[in-house]
């Protein structure tokens, strides 16, 4: 499989401590992988570096063969807006907006007009089983429902890669698994790759490929492409 997103020799330091100590990783288009590791292993740092939220101190990152690690913050921000989607542990929804407005927000920021953005948002909410709850506020949804709104927000603009950082951290096991399934199914529809960071090995077992990280290094060899 051709690599969509690759990282080579990634290093990230915080003072004298290494969050990443030379990581190589490849993710193919449409692939779903889980990055697992204990607390402080560097899994979240790896996610943030691959997503362009943090800049690596060393190493290279390519997306579709183009280097993206050297882009300016403005360009990286543009990239995150157009090519990437994010699902955070607590959803991080805007509490003042309704469910459909939260989902439409990235589309609006990308320049889509209001009607198209809202229509797309409603479509995805229905697909994720939230039909009839478009006008609800995040505080009026259950934890699982809020995470599905976050998934819809992450996927509505058809990104190439979805980054999910502990997406089930605040959910019970059953709801968590249902959420991950919803994420994987939604990604399949659009062909997006999904990178899930989790400490939950049971959850990691649900996805086709798992990468273990410890002390800033990949523990297991990367599966050959």
């Amino acid at each position: 499989m051709t690599s969509l997103l690759s990282g080579r020799g990634l290093v990230k330091r915080y003072g004298t401590a290494y969050a990443l100590a030379g990581v190589d990783i490849d993710i193919a288009a449409g692939e779903v992988i889980a990055i697992v590791g204990p607390s402080g292993s560097g899994k979240t740092s790896l996610l943030h570096v691959l997503a362009g939220i943090l800049k690596a101190d060393d190493g290279t990152i390519t997306l579709g063969g183009q280097r993206i690690d050297q882009l300016s913050e403005t360009k990286r921000s543009e990239l995150r807006r157009s090519e990437f989607g994010f699902v955070f542990q607590s959803g991080m929804l805007v509490t003042e907006l309704t469910a459909e407005e939260n989902v439409a927000l990235p589309l609006l920021l990308g320049g889509r007009d209001r009607n198209m953005a809202i229509s797309t948002a409603r479509t995805w909410l229905v697909r994720l089983g939230l039909g009839g709850k478009e006008a609800r506020r995040p505080g009026e949804l259950s934890g699982g429902e809020a995470q599905r709104v976050a998934i819809a927000r992450a996927i509505a603009h058809r990104p190439k890669v979805i980054f999910a950082d502990e997406p089930t951290g605040a959910l019970d096991t059953k709801t968590g698994h249902a959420t991950v399934n919803a994420l994987i199914e939604a990604a399949k529809e659009t062909g997006a790759a999904v990178i899930i960071v989790t400490h939950d090995r049971e959850l990691a077992a649900m996805v086709p490929r798992t990468v273990a990280i410890r002390d800033g290094r990949i523990e297991q060899p990367v599966t050959a492409l």
């Binding site: 943030h48 997503a51 939220i53 913050e73 403005t74 921000s77 543009e78 990239l79 995150r80 807006r81 157009s82 990437f84 989607g85 994010f86 955070f88 607590s90 991080m92 929804l93 805007v94 509490t95 003042e96 907006l97 407005e101 927000l105 990235p106 609006l108 920021l109 007009d113 209001r114 506020r137 995040p138 505080g139 009026e140 992450a154």
Partner: protein, 746 residues
């Protein structure tokens, strides 16, 4: 208290909030102490200068010890207060006020240090010679209204005192009266500046509000009682408030020291003028923190009653439309109190209370207006920034309005002041029967000849060409208009002294407006007790003894009757007699000196004297208005900036996630600016209109004229909008800090 201290030790944002809250309380305490001290300062001035106040007349004096006369003079636009005294008992037995070591002997004078300094630098003809006395010492500070006051105490014998002298039991006898205008302004100032100060404090304490709410909500859910939660908040806020009050009291002498430089009624202040009685200081130092803690505890309603709702993200009940009623109710109360005040001549407390109520009303209406704005944007948005701003304004209008509350009040105060100022200025004016360049004094028929001769001698001595003229006045009845003011003055003198005069005849004549005949006029006599009498049977023979064959010249260019002195029969009833001298800019001060020296203390009247007091008063009003407006605007801008920054911090995680997902800072900044600026723009326009209406109402208390509306009325609104936008722009730096670590918790 232990919990409050622990939170303060470990949480950086709480530390920042505590410091800002303490600073806000310090500002509020310092401002209130300063404003409350103003009436005491004017009282202090009034008590020091009881011996100078020419408007005070004691009702009865059983054992007078001193004859006293007061007048005002001026030089180069500066007021000179002149007091003439003569002992009625042994000079050593005359009670003297502080600052006056001894009563000056006849021909001696005591001068204020500034007057002595001024006189040493001017020719005697322009100043020193006015007093006809030799310097015998200086007046002490305890006898002066302000440090740079120009005041002189001239000694006489009782028979050389001015005609208007009165007898007093002691020099400095009487009761001091407050400067009512400054007391009113101090009251208005307390209302106008205390509220923005408290809004600043509220904004500072709200930096931690969301986090504190969550913490307290968690404690409530864990079983803490409402009383325990209330005590915790009181302890947290109380720490900052007490510290702030102590700082405010400590730095208030600095504020007072700065205030001594702000001139009022002609001069600056002594440091000790602003000293407050200790009970007042303690009362203010206690009241301000109590207000602050009370407001913090009142804000706990949501946490105490519905701790689950404090976690946010729920659709809230919209604000009641009934809030809109508060403005007309407050306005009605204010205008009712105004009508009561104008009827009862000075019931100002209800006016001030209702003014405060009116100024509080935007706090109630403002959030509703903000919510309505938000509702408008949530229905009509096209850009994401408009959606975010609209939802935020709709979701939490109180928080959104809070950012602009201080600015709104500054606009209200500014509009009120700028409605009053031009209107009061238009009231200023000067009317005189003489031309603008004429100096004159009033005397009696017995002494007028001496005064004229002595004035002319002085004018000759100073090398001046002009001469003094005697101008008598009579009241005339009859003619087409029924009443005429008559001046006993030659036509040539009238041309020099009066604003309008006819073409002069070649012989002595009587000049009158067209339509007047000599036969139709009669003089009114004034009896000894000042009552007017008319005795028609004696009129023809004794009151109007004008020669029937006197030349009469009528003219359309005059409105009064001019009678040549040669035609006035002896014993004619003059109502008053003036000695008048024309002067130009170069001869003005010397001419004034000649008149004053000749009159021995009579009041010389001129356009500068009459307008000077009005100009001083208006300049004082303008000065304090500008200082008040700038102070309120700074406070408003600071509170708006703190509130906006706090709003970003409260939503740090959400903004961070949006930025991590690629939302440009400029989009979020645009939304935040709209959130902060829109309510401020709408509210400032409303506050401007309300302030203007209040200004019109207050002007109506002092005048029946139509108020003058100046284009400067737009200035407070523009200032308010600019301050709001400026304060809103602090969100970009705040967002940039979030962008540095978008997914960090703090």
């Amino acid at each position: 208290m232990q919990l409050a201290l622990r939170v303060l030790r470990v949480d950086r944002r709480t530390q920042v909030s505590t410091v800002l809250t303490a600073l806000g309380v310090a500002v509020a305490t310092g401002l209130v102490l300063l404003l409350v001290s103003l009436p005491f300062a004017t009282q202090s001035r009034a008590e020091r200068t009881l011996w100078q106040n020419p408007s005070f007349w004691p009702s009865e004096v059983a054992h007078p010890t001193v004859s006293w006369a007061g007048s005002e003079d001026e030089i180069d636009g500066q007021r000179i207060t002149r007091i003439d005294v003569a002992p009625l008992v042994d000079r050593a037995d005359v009670p003297l006020p502080p600052g006056i070591d001894r009563l000056p002997a006849p021909g001696e004078m005591l001068r204020s240090p500034e007057l002595a300094h001024l006189a040493s630098g001017r020719p005697a003809a322009e100043l020193a010679d006015r007093f006809n006395a030799s310097p015998a010492g200086l007046l002490g500070d305890e006898a002066l209204m302000y440090p740079e006051q120009l005041v002189v105490l001239v000694g006489h014998t009782p028979d050389t005192m001015p005609a208007n002298a009165t007898e007093l039991a002691a020099l400095g006898d009487g009761e001091a009266h407050l400067d009512g205008l400054l007391a009113l302004l101090a009251g208005v100032g307390v209302v106008v500046l205390l509220v923005p100060s408290l809004v600043l404090v509220a904004s500072a304490s709200r930096l931690t509000a969301a986090r504190r709410e969550r913490r307290l909500a968690a404690l409530r859910l864990a079983g803490a009682t409402p009383a325990q939660v209330t005590k915790m908040v009181a302890a947290e806020t109380g720490l900052a408030a007490v510290a702030g009050a102590v700082i405010g009291v400590a730095v208030s002498p600095v504020l007072h020291s700065l205030a001594t430089w702000v001139a009022w009624d002609g001069g600056t202040w002594f440091d000790h003028d602003f000293m407050l009685p200790w009970p007042v200081v303690v009362a203010v130092a206690v009241a301000v923190p109590v207000l602050v803690v009370g407001a913090a505890v009142a804000g706990l309603r949501r946490v105490v009653n519905t701790p689950l709702m404090a976690t946010g993200g729920h659709t809230r009940k919209p604000l009641s439309k009934g809030r809109l009623l508060i403005v007309p109710v407050a306005a009605l109360a204010f205008f009712w109190s105004l009508s009561m005040a104008s009827e009862s001549q000075g019931a100002m407390l209800p006016v001030l209370v209702s003014l405060g109520f009116l100024m509080w009303s935007p706090t109630v209406v403002g959030p509703w207006v903000t919510s309505a704005l938000g509702g408008f944007f949530t229905k009509t948005w096209r850009r994401p920034s408009a959606l975010l701003a609209g939802r935020r304004l709709r979701d939490d209008p109180k928080a959104a309005y809070r950012a602009s509350a201080g600015v709104v009040l500054a606009v209200f105060a500014g509009s009120m002041a700028l409605t009053l100022m031009p209107s009061l200025e238009s009231e200023a004016g000067y009317f005189s029967q003489y031309k603008d360049n004429v100096l004159y004094l009033n005397t009696d028929t017995e002494h007028v000849g001496e005064v004229v001769s002595a004035t002319d001698a002085g004018l000759r001595r100073y090398g001046l060409a002009q001469r003094a003229a005697q101008v008598g006045q009579v009241s005339l009845r009859g003619g087409p208009d029924g009443f005429y003011q008559g001046y006993v003055v030659s036509c040539s003198d009238a041309k020099v002294l009066l604003p309008t005069s006819p073409e002069c005849a070649s012989e002595p004549a009587i000049y009158a407006p067209s339509g007047v005949t000599l036969a139709g006029l009669r003089m009114e006599s004034v009896s000894e007790d000042g009552a007017e009498t008319t005795d028609t049977t004696e009129t023809t023979e004794t009151l109007m003894a004008l020669p029937s064959d006197a030349k009469l010249v009528t003219s359309d260019s005059i409105g009064s009757v001019l009678i040549d002195p040669a035609l006035l029969p002896s014993g004619a009833p003059l109502t008053s007699v003036d000695v008048a001298v024309p002067a130009d800019d170069t001869s003005r001060e010397s001419a004034r000196t000649a008149l004053l020296a000749a009159s021995g203390g009579a009041q010389v009247i001129s356009k500068e004297m009459k307008l000077g007091q009005q100009d001083t008063q208006l300049a004082d009003l303008r000065r304090v208005t500008v200082i008040g407006l700038v102070t309120a605007s700074v406070l408003g801008g600071l509170s708006a900036a703190i509130a906006t920054a706090g709003s970003v911090l409260d939503r740090r995680r959400t903004f961070g996630a949006l930025m991590a997902a690629g939302t440009p800072v400029r989009t979020l900044a645009r939304a935040l600016r709209a959130e902060a600026a829109l309510p401020a723009l709408v509210s400032t326009i409303g506050a401007g209109a309300l302030g203007t209406a209040v200004g019109v109402g207050l002007f109506g208390l002092v005048s029946e004229s139509v108020p003058v509306f100046s284009p400067w009325l737009a200035a407070p609104i523009v200032l308010g909008a600019l301050v709001a936008l400026l304060a809103a722009s602090v969100c970009t730096p705040a967002l940039n800090r979030v962008r540095a670590e978008p997914l960090a918790d703090e």
